[in-house]
Subunit: 274 residues, 2 copies
């Protein structure tokens, strides 16, 4: 079991957790609440452009944990796959512009495409952009997604698969993002976390609601679902991970809240249930 | 790839696929449509009792593939676990009464219970009822459920886990039910099907809809989702499986159809997309 978290120094919030807020509102809200770290979603920088967003973030004093998200490599036809790689190169450039040391990859899947084919296209796609990442000094992390997203979001659905891909790609710029929501059910979770070791580049938390009313946007606040988050955090930290703990919650319910109160609720849940 | 299915001799329909129909209506509907096999859900025999349901089924000439479902072994407290085992013994007795050679187990899970604990309680629970099954000459099959049901329906979420349990239980009366809906995403599926071999007791089909709008009741007709069913059927049949192919679809959409037309649609999809 992990040692209890006593302050918010490692707390990071994803801009998607406070989706109704613009990037400026999120920056202001996190700074006001003394949340020190932010992960920025690309849709939240669209209105500003990466350059201006970067200035806003630097001026704020927030540390940028990562940019979400690159990926979506599988596609039908070489031209579409090259377009996906170009988009990932742009994501890497945007990460540089906003001061993010990491781009998280939601690797992609195409309904009806054989999963083994999609998985190979993912490996090939990451391999094609890794030199761009290295030149930019931006890391890339493969985030295995829950198997319920294997149709159209990611053909990488277990930590074992992600670990195999990281081994195959064999670059210090490629690692793994662990999200308790996607991995909590996995009987091999502890063993595969140990295997991942120092290739764990980032760590996301939220909780699994029973019943889950929507596959994408019904995630729960930490402590309000069935995931033993402290236990999984303990396993992650046994590998030496000391990075930010990122709260990423997609929730129609919570997006309807006053987002300022939501941030306070995140802060409380972080201390009691992470 | 499996050889194309040319007739409906192996087609089986679950009474839950035509949920609005009573057991009598389902029997009449399947007989009229020349569907030769039926899997009966316990909720569909409640109104009649197992004895009367058994007579209705014998009189119909339908072959009963299995009774759905036993399981739900994990519980907090020894008394609750014993009650669950008793319920499974009753399910076995009901299977005898309706002429079903198999009880399918949805093994159970309790939100917040450590999954490793739930998994052990499942093994212990099956072990406790297997002699009852043997005496009744009724087989039991572990159906691994999709990981999105790990919170409250089943802590057995991969074929690998189910295979491990079958090995641990080491009884000719305990095997596996494979459902493409639960397993299609699994990168180890082909290998674990080979490993399961003759312990595959039954085989369920439906399809995965994109987007899936409900975790439980938005399954698709075969051919209308992203699962390559013929490919998986081929793998299943490479093990020597020649049993019924069971159409089990939970779908709010399809339950609103004229159920007679639905059965015809099942028959067409069975020939084109299984």
């Amino acid at each position: 079991m992990a040692e209890k978290l006593h302050n918010h120094s490692r707390l990071c919030i994803h801009t998607m957790t406070t989706k109704p807020w613009s990037l400026q509102e999120a920056i202001d809200g996190y700074v006001r609440a003394e949340v020190p770290n932010i992960t920025v979603w690309r849709n939240h920088i669209e209105d500003y452009g990466a350059k201006k967003a970067g200035k806003m973030l630097r001026d704020s004093g927030l540390r940028v944990t990562s940019l979400c998200r690159g990926g979506f490599f599988p596609a039908t036809g070489a031209a579409a796959r090259e377009a996906a790689r170009d988009d990932n190169r742009r994501a890497i450039d945007e990460a540089v512009a906003i001061g993010a040391p990491l781009v998280v990859l939601v690797c992609g899947a195409v309904p009806g495409m054989e999963l083994a084919v999609a998985r190979q296209q993912i490996i090939d796609g990451i391999e094609a952009v890794v030199s761009h990442a290295q030149d930019a000094k931006v890391k890339l992390s493969i985030e295995p997604l829950h198997p319920m997203y294997a149709d159209d979001r990611s053909a990488v659905n277990s930590l074992e698969q992600a670990n195999n891909m990281v081994m195959a790609l064999n670059s210090p710029w490629v690692g793994i993002t662990v999200d308790v929501y996607h991995c909590w059910w996995d009987p091999m979770l502890k063993a595969e976390l140990q295997r991942a070791g120092r290739t764990i580049f980032s760590f996301h938390v939220c909780d699994w609601r029973t019943p889950t009313r929507d596959l994408l946007t019904d995630r729960a606040m930490m402590g309000e679902g069935c995931i033993d988050i402290p236990r999984i955090r303990g396993w992650v930290e046994q590998t030496g991970f000391k990075g930010p703990i990122e709260v990423e919650i997609f929730s129609n319910d919570l997006w309807e809240w006053d987002q300022k109160k939501l941030v306070e609720r995140v802060k409380r849940a972080y201390l009691t249930s992470v």
